[in-house]
Subunit: 522 residues, 2 copies
């Protein structure tokens, strides 16, 4: 397997196969299940700076400690491994967490999709784009902002399935608040399984819901669930396990974490931080705390099942010191992202961060500035798993229909950027310059004709027509054009095929499990 | 002087002075006349790739050649230096241009402002932001799109003067089409001199207009014009000299170039390229052609006055292969920008590119996505002189009032990004984490209080209030808030002081020169 480093993927004179692969990644990204980057990483700190922050993370783990709330089992596991537990406060000897994680956590792993062509490799030089996650509201130009419903959830699963730029179906794309809290995970997981064939995320809001996700996954994959070579489960699910920063993990998240890790399913250990409230107001402080918290979480996963796939997650926004509101797309979170990506590589685990984050309520210029200021660093830093790639509005409170297709367009562009500079003979185009010569134009020359189909990323949403034509077409902004696009996509949606027996078994499982609940909405 | 390299500015453990300077640059950028970057450069190609493209540029200069139109003087100068001229077609022996430019062009230089605190250093680790340039139209939410007037020109000079994020007054910020073509340069240059004290650009549309710019500069700076140590003029003006790509320089631009170079004033030699029409449809082809054209132009400057300050310019957008329209903010121009910045550093001259480019007609999400996708690469690549930092709409046809203040906000953020990670003891914030501990919050802790004023970039335009408050305030998008901001700024504008005798002398010069023209509008 190719390993990722800042120097390795720099352009050498590529051979024909390289050029073909780069062209495929850049232009027809319909055919790529994930991005394999072909440009160098951006690394903001040198080794000395990184060692300092690693030292500080170890100081936090050793001197301050991490609270593990309401979960004696986890505390017993950590104590047995050499940690010092006083009540719920656990302190780790310097280097303990790093040693445990480095020893068994995989550097990269495959998350299998029910369509094998859509399986993703998470880690190394790959980038996987997943939609936004967790919004209670949705927004469209037609209806404004309202609570999300399961119908919206299905719509976003379908739009994600249709997008060439998104590789992963995601998880709680929006909260279907029209369904009971204790049952809606069945409908969400089923939607991913039924209306898409891309890989998906599991429920984490209770360990039983994680178990339901695993059970449904066993039904969906049947014979394929176990790897005959190892006798262990293959990895089909990845799930988001958030810390209660600062320096706290709670029983709900730890319960889901242990369920998935024991089943060899992947987890993303993510300190979710609004700097200034849940971490210090500085980049270096936020980074050290994030690393300490994530290390402690990954340690639990590796102790309950050494080798279980884990991803180091970082979600850091800054707080407005005036209003106390979270802010997005500002420079400080970008710096946190760059440093955390470096630290994850040094630890040897895949990294999750970034996306198209914004604080704006609507798909306006603020949303676009902030989203681009997050997505570009995400790609330059080499993030492996990108949650919140498309749809995010209002600090994650709202999933936007127009914003979704606007963000997916931007994610499409990133395929071209990460493919880098084509230095093949065709890329150098010396014959074109000889053919055209001074003072002429290249519009009709042989080289332009030969590259017509593949030259330049094509946005389905940017309007580059003349002012007069744009005005004649109604002076629309990009959000209005996006409104037309997502509706057209949904109208054209066709579900991927599924074995009717499998579908019936899934629905049967859901019906049985739902029937076992007391008829409560809590 | 500090030289710029990809490894030098990486974070060592900074001393107190470093931290102080970084904090100043990051937060109170009112006090910095330009950015001194403190984060590594992003370099997309390795040496082998760069050598290949330099080789290709030399092949273009040697085998294909460059046309110098209607300018026998320039051709004679080039022939005398060793070039082969057949009619207007000039071919250069391999390495000739590079040798001439490297021998005498300064690696960096100071452009003096009439307020010495606003003088800029162009080159090395510095980035200087200037507003957009050249639009015949202006746009505001109040009036829509209309032809620009001298009143608009003055407004943008004032807004630029007021902006902490813009370091340079720019040049033809918009075309004052209410003034005669042959006289409007007087009013433009005077506006920069009178309504700002930041450095400015000169007229290039005829060599006599360049001479007028130099004469007015002599009046403005008086005794300071000549450097007593060398007896040569100091550099007070920088001007934009565009090639007629492909591979052509015309007499108008060459005339202005020679006028400025002989007066020791700075020039930016810029191939202005819509790839697919004026260069091949590939990144590597566009880069090689840009380098060849710029080298030829800089060679002329160094031959007429060895040591005259020159800047290697690159403006590359891609063409929609469907409509033939120029497109902006796409990945290919970003790759051109990254590579050209590397090539300029290898040549040893300052580099101009980038800005906040977009194709959108209005300050919507398209404009913001495209602008951010240009400005971030601009900053990561280490561009020294950034034209079109603020206001650009519609491929440069329109200067937007709202877009201007939105872009200036983004340029402000870049100050914080380029200041990098503060690894001082305060930045590490270990005591804050000890003070707060697991499960608590940082809002009131001593470290947060101490850093309250300087923590996090503050946008004057982003709305991060609650949905309810945003709705109560009229559900405004960022363009509407920007409309309020630029009007408030203009209302609060106060002109910088000027010696009344100098002002009178400038107005007298303009009156005499204008009176000498036949009363024609051509």
């Amino acid at each position: 397997m190719q390993t990722q480093s800042s120097s390795a993927p720099r352009a050498r004179r590529p051979n024909a196969r390289d050029a073909k692969r780069a062209a495929r990644t850049a232009r027809s990204h319909s055919s790529v299940p994930f991005i394999t980057r072909n440009i160098p990483l951006y690394e903001v700190l040198n080794n000395e700076g990184l060692e300092l922050l690693e030292h500080n993370a170890d100081t936090i783990l050793e001197e301050i400690g991490i609270d593990f709330r309401d979960d004696p089992e986890t505390i017993a596991i950590l104590r047995a491994a050499g940690a010092d537990a006083q009540g719920e406060r656990v302190r780790f000897p310097r280097g303990m967490c790093r040693t445990i994680v480095s020893r068994s956590a995989p550097r990269e792993f495959t998350q299998h999709a029910r369509n094998p062509e859509r399986s993703v490799i998470i880690g190394g030089a790959r980038t996987v784009f997943a939609p936004a996650y967790g919004s209670p509201f949705v927004r469209s130009l037609d209806e404004g902002r309202r609570y999300a419903r399961i119908e919206d959830f299905r719509n976003f699963v379908k739009l994600t399935y249709q997008s060439n730029a998104l590789h992963h179906s995601g998880g709680t794309i929006c909260e279907p608040v029209d369904l009971p809290v204790n049952k809606r995970h069945f409908d969400m997981v089923y939607s991913h399984m039924r209306w898409s064939d891309k890989p998906y995320m599991g429920s984490v809001t209770a360990s039983e819901r994680a178990e339901d996700t695993v059970e449904m996954t066993k039904i969906l994959f049947g014979d394929q669930y176990l790897d005959p070579a190892t006798g262990k489960p293959r990895t089909f699910v990845i799930s988001l396990i958030n810390a209660n920063s600062p320096m706290t993990w709670d029983a709900t998240m730890l319960g889901a974490l242990k369920t998935y890790a024991r089943a060899n399913q992947a987890t993303i250990l993510t300190p979710f931080i609004l700097a200034g409230a849940m971490s210090p107001v500085t980049v270096a402080g936020t980074v050290a705390q994030t690393l300490a918290e994530a290390l402690a979480g990954m340690t639990v996963a590796q102790l309950v099942n050494p080798g279980a796939p884990v991803v180091l997650g970082s979600f850091a926004s800054s707080l407005s010191m005036q209003s106390g509101a979270p802010t997005f797309g500002t420079p400080e979170p970008a710096l946190v992202l760059y440093v955390m990506a470096q630290l994850a590589r040094r630890l040897g685990v895949p990294f999750r961060s970034g996306g198209s984050l914004c604080g704006s309520k609507i798909a306006d210029g603020q949303a676009a500035f902030e989203s681009a200021n997050t997505l570009l660093p995400t790609c330059m830093a080499g993030v492996n798993f990108v949650l919140h790639t498309a749809g995010w509005l209002e600090g994650g409170l709202t999933m936007g229909y127009e914003k979704f297709v606007m963000d997916a367009d931007q994610a499409g562009m990133m395929h071209t950027l990460l493919a880098g500079v084509d230095l093949s003979e065709n890329g150098q185009a010396m014959q074109a310059m000889r053919d055209v010569g001074p003072g002429k134009h290249y519009l009709g020359c042989a080289h332009t004709q030969a590259n017509f189909e593949t030259a330049f990323y094509r946005s389905p949403l940017a309007d580059n027509n003349s002012f007069e034509q744009w005005e004649a077409e109604g002076s629309k902004d990009i959000a209005q054009r996006a409104n037309t696009l997502w509706k057209r996509q949904l109208a054209e949606y066709e579900a991927p095929p599924i074995d009717p027996a499998v579908d019936e078994a899934l629905l049967d499982y859901i019906q049985r499990r739902k029937a076992s609940f007391p008829d409560s909405n809590v």
